[in-house]
């Protein structure tokens, strides 16, 4: 009698998992792994995003500085404040060596040439587009907005810098 009971206990112990148990176990495993996957893929996107933002901030700064250099060139040439900075209320382009504003036909991507320079003339297209908008605030103040836009894995991104140039030279 006791021998029979032992044997039936053993049989029950040998039954293994039911389908439900197996499914529950797999679901739990999945619930654990999926967030880890999502986390990993988020990290990649974030690292790329940081990298792109770093480049965009410097390109935006370049835009502001080039516009300032054009204002100073006007002063050196004896021209009035903002003489070369008109016609840009709806956008224009500049590159690192621009002597004047480049009219905006469309907003092409900046290229990077053999020597590593970002420009519009030669090289392979980068992901960055840069547009400058100059609007007069008063006769003696110009608002300069440089907007760098690009598209990355998670969608379109933009970085804008606003600067104000003043007619302080007497």
């Amino acid at each position: 009698m006791s021998r029979h009971q032992d044997s039936s206990n053993c049989n029950r112990r040998q039954r293994g998992f039911t389908l439900i148990e197996a499914l529950v176990a797999l679901t739990l495993l999945g619930v654990g792994l999926i967030p880890a996957f999502i986390q990993a893929s988020n990290s990649i996107a974030l690292a790329d995003s940081v990298q792109n933002s770093l480049v965009a901030t410097h390109l935006a700064q370049e835009g502001v500085e080039v516009v300032r250099a054009i204002r100073d060139d006007d002063w050196f040439a004896g021209s009035a404040f903002g003489a070369s900075l008109g016609g840009c209320a709806s956008g224009c382009l500049v590159q690192y060596d621009s002597p004047s504003l480049i009219p905006l036909t469309d907003n092409p991507a900046l290229k990077r040439d053999q020597t590593g320079l970002f420009n519009y003339d030669s090289g392979t297209a980068t992901i960055y587009h840069r547009m400058v908008t100059i609007t007069p605030v008063s006769p003696h103040e110009l608002k300069v907005v440089v907007s760098v836009t690009w598209t990355e894995r998670t969608g379109a991104k933009h970085f804008d810098v606003e600067d104000h140039l003043f007619d302080w030279l007497k």
Partner: protein
């Protein structure tokens, strides 16, 4: 005579169990390795950002208020140029020389012979493109195209970032009539 409880696993059961275990461990292990590589890349990007931001910002801050004393230069950072220099006259700090040196194999930027980028990153290419220096009726611009690479780890986890910025001098005295 052996009872059922003592029979143990059959070879098939053992193989199936081992296969399932291997598959699960391999996929989790793969995920782990991927995560570590991503982490290394992210650290690389962070180092590049710190170094690029600090070096370019400190150069820009000084150049803005200084007179650039080195002459106009062309840009040729892709040519194997091991060194490049920029000299400026700062109203408070006096003569300052910025120097890029890659003769040791790892590119480093120096301000008056003091390193301003760490040896964690390699400034793979750099140039000072100066235009409008001297009495030429144009404001001085300094354009700095730079390529920075993170060091350490395996080549697949290294990151390379190329960027560029331009700084305009605020000094009007050189060119103003």
């Amino acid at each position: 005579m052996k009872t059922d409880a003592q029979r143990g696993f059959s070879l098939i059961e053992l193989l199936v169990a081992a296969a399932v275990f291997t598959y699960v461990v391999a996929s989790i292990g793969g995920l782990f390795v991927t995560a570590i590589n991503i982490q290394r890349r992210a650290t690389g990007v962070q180092k590049i950002e710190e170094n690029a931001q600090f070096a370019l910002e400190s150069i820009a801050r000084e150049v803005r208020v200084s007179t650039v004393t080195s002459g106009d230069t062309d840009c040729n950072p892709v040519d194997p140029v091991a060194t490049a220099t920029l000299t400026i006259q700062h109203p408070v700090n006096g003569a300052v020389t910025y120097r890029y040196d890659r003769s040791s194999g790892v590119g480093i930027l120096y301000r008056n012979d003091q390193a301003i980028t760490s040896s964690d990153v390699d400034v793979a290419s750099f140039a000072f493109c100066v235009s409008g220096s001297g009495h030429d009726g144009h404001q001085t611009r300094v354009t700095m195209p730079v390529t920075i690479q993170s060091l350490g780890g395996s080549p697949s986890t290294r990151v390379t970032v190329s960027l560029q910025t331009t700084v305009t001098s605020r000094d009007l005295t050189t060119d103003l009539k």
